[in-house]
Symmetry: C2
Subunit: 284 residues, 2 copies
């Protein structure tokens, strides 16, 4: 079985129009490719819940704040198409940059509070680029449901907020993070890690587990939880901590007092690679 | 015959979903109410080209830069519903503010170059508010076509640009301006004019006609055309000129040399009322 690899917007539109007329439910999995088991989980869920499954593969220049990150971002279209085919994906939408941006856009989605902290603070323009390209993909694929990984918790919150604010008629499905046996969250950027870096990278997961255990154990002071988790990362000399924050799950605002479920979220640098992860922390 | 007046987003969605399933073409006419013959022309065209016609009536707070303009903006829902019923409109969507903005939005459509000049320069945030509410209305009503008056030329250019940039699957139809016998462009704000103001207000139309005649007569220097048109307005003491510019029709950028169709666009104040108008100017 193979998936149809489509690079043009009008051709994917034809498939979408045909499917909608036949009342087939459409599931969209937006990705930047270099597909791993985390993406596979999104795809499998989309496959189970919809009639037509579209996986988009587009490394979106608009959301990269550092040119070298865009340049080094892994690309593997043939392998991705094989993964999609094996998973029963109907359409792989893999547009070239000129198809998505025939000229510089004059409009963009401006994102407010929900993009203020965490990655939004350290990657200027990142969520503006994410929201803008996702809005484009939503209008092109017109899915009933779209699937996003919880690993990118702030991205998921931004998308949910955008969909609510603009009344976009799409159900957003968040899918739990897939991890390596030692806890490292799957990410396309993991393949850049050298062996020593790979071992050190698990420290972020260990730190988030400490935060989660403290909250589960009844600690209510977010500053204390945050400090305990930071110390775990700071003990690993091969890693530089970018941020580690305790935020509420809807608007991603830092909290002082923990009186409900919160998210512990962090970003680390391991050599030249930036990794993020997060964990829901539920008080007793 | 009556139109269904619907105030809730889920209820209008039900109508839209039902229509789409039946493959009925949907036409949307977004308005702020106080409907006049200009709106009627939009509605009649929508009626002729679609199976389900939705007229939205929503005085959008987000696009008003001056609180007193929002407060004074004419509202006439019952008369509007009668106009819609007589014109064969299927659905009047008239949401309260709390239905469109249950909480302050965190996202907005940021509009760039196309909103830099003309009204965009004098009404900060106006086109951001327009684009944001129109994107919401598009996602709610999911029309095949949406109808906008050419009287608001820059608004039409902003909407066309937004639809192109975000790949919104909607055809934007621009509809020629309807004028009074003496040339005054119809506008809901005209009803605020006192009799003397009403007579003076036609000066903008006269000025645009001068610009159009000059361009048709072969004048290529935009500054000269602009100056000739401005002088017409300046001869009327009851009117204050806000702007009068010669711009290209796509990105609404001022031109120096006229080598194709341009738009002459102006805004005037007549007492406390601000009026706009524009005219296409085609060189020989």
């Amino acid at each position: 079985m193979t998936s149809d690899v489509i690079t043009s917007i009008p051709l994917v539109r034809d498939r979408v129009t045909e499917a909608r007329r036949a009342r087939r439910r459409i599931g969209l999995v937006p990705t930047m490719g270099a597909l791993h088991a985390g993406h596979k989980r999104l795809i499998d869920l989309a496959r189970a819940e919809n009639d037509l499954v579209i996986v988009s593969i587009f490394v979106n220049p608009l959301q990269f704040d550092r040119p070298e990150d865009l340049e080094k971002y892994p690309r593997a279209l043939q392998a991705d198409a094989d993964v999609c085919a094996a998973a029963g994906v109907d359409v792989v939408f893999a547009p070239p940059v000129a198809e998505m941006y025939p000229e510089p856009l004059d409009c963009a989605i401006d994102v407010g509070r929900v993009a203020e902290h965490l990655c939004g603070r350290f990657r200027p323009g990142h969520f503006r680029g994410v929201a803008t390209v996702v809005m484009k993909l939503f209008q092109i694929a017109q899915p009933d449901r779209a699937y996003f990984g919880e690993k990118d918790a702030q991205q998921l919150a931004v998308i949910r907020r955008m969909v609510a604010d603009f009344n976009v008629p799409i159900e957003i499905v968040g899918v739990p993070t897939v991890r390596e046996p030692d806890g490292l969250a799957l990410s396309s950027r993991n393949q850049r890690l050298q062996p020593g870096e790979r071992r050190a990278a698990t420290v972020l997961y260990e730190a988030l587990k400490v935060a989660s255990a403290q909250v589960a154990g009844g600690v209510r002071d977010a500053a204390g939880v945050r400090q305990a988790a930071r110390q775990v990362v700071e003990r690993e000399p091969a890693v530089r901590l970018e941020y580690l924050e305790i935020v509420e799950p809807r608007e991603m605002q830092p909290v002082e007092h923990i009186d409900g479920p919160v998210i512990a979220a962090g970003a680390i640098w391991v050599g030249g690679t930036r990794l993020i992860d997060n964990m829901i922390c539920v008080p007793p």
